[in-house]
């Protein structure tokens, strides 16, 4: 299984992270254009959140295997300000930045598994996993 770490310091890293994510997703067995796009979009949004809220962090991409299933795990980590109210942040349409209000609920919809750990002053770690579907 492979691991790729993409440091996220500049907005150009967002593009690098999702392109590498797409490549790794193909390697682990994702082939439908929809799945590849969903994965790339999720990575893009998570990397973008890091830049926007924490200025820097990293996206770690792992190919994983469990119970005969193969998949891709995305871990977006930063040591930024943290999220004060995770439940609020997970509400659809909520956004502190006045943007389109997508953010985390959107990423959760795109992926199969989603977990977020965040502490004020300590940072945020978002883990999102997508499994290769049997039809691919």
């Amino acid at each position: 299984m492979s691991t790729i770490r993409v440091p996220i310091n500049y907005t150009t890293d967002i593009l690098a992270a999702r392109q590498q994510g797409r490549t790794l997703a193909r390697q682990v067995g994702f082939s439908s254009p929809t799945d590849l796009t969903l994965i790339a979009t999720a990575i893009s949004e998570l990397a973008r959140n890091i830049i926007h809220y924490a200025k820097q962090g990293e996206v770690v991409l792992d190919t994983i295997q469990q119970n005969g299933k193969r998949g891709l795990a995305i871990v977006a980590k930063d040591e930024g300000p943290g999220i004060s109210n995770i439940a609020q942040a997970m509400q659809a349409g909520y956004s502190t930045s006045g943007g389109l209000g997508l953010g985390l609920p959107g990423v959760k919809r795109l992926m199969d598994q989603f977990e977020i750990v965040s502490d004020i002053g300590k940072g945020t770690t978002v883990t999102a996993i997508k499994w290769v579907s049997r039809n691919e």
Binding site: T12, P33, L36, T37, L38, R48, G93, L102
Partner: protein, 121 residues
């Protein structure tokens, strides 16, 4: 990565050639808004056929392009959303409301022909 902007009569056509960085997107936005004035264009087509990811920044910038160009008196139509991109956008809640879209370049031109007729410039 430069985005070529072509003039077709009174329209501008911006064709995204490859995945763009945030800076590239902002450059296209500013170039289109400037050129609408320079060439007195009545319509703008932004062709996103090549994009296989449309994230929140790209969506926001497309929306800004359409609104800024409308302030300058011209109409914008975005064309070429791939099926999987359309799916991802809807899942993510990015609806691009208030922005005209069409299937492809041909449909985009037809749309602009219809909508700029009524402006009668």
């Amino acid at each position: 990565m430069q985005v070529p902007i072509l003039r077709q009569g009174e329209y501008l056509i911006a064709s995204f050639q490859a995945e763009l960085t945030d800076t590239d997107l902002l450059r296209v936005r500013d170039a289109l808004v400037e050129q609408v004035g320079r060439y007195r264009s009545r319509g703008v087509i932004v062709d996103v056929t090549v994009l296989d990811v449309m994230d929140s920044f790209a969506t926001r910038t497309l929306r800004d392009i359409a609104h800024m160009i409308r302030l300058r008196g011209a109409e914008t139509v975005i064309v070429g959303f791939q099926p999987e991109v359309a799916f991802a956008m809807v899942q993510l809640g990015m609806k691009l409301e208030g922005v005209a879209t069409a299937l492809d370049l041909e449909e985009g031109l037809a749309y602009l022909n219809r909508s700029t007729k009524s402006i009668g410039r």
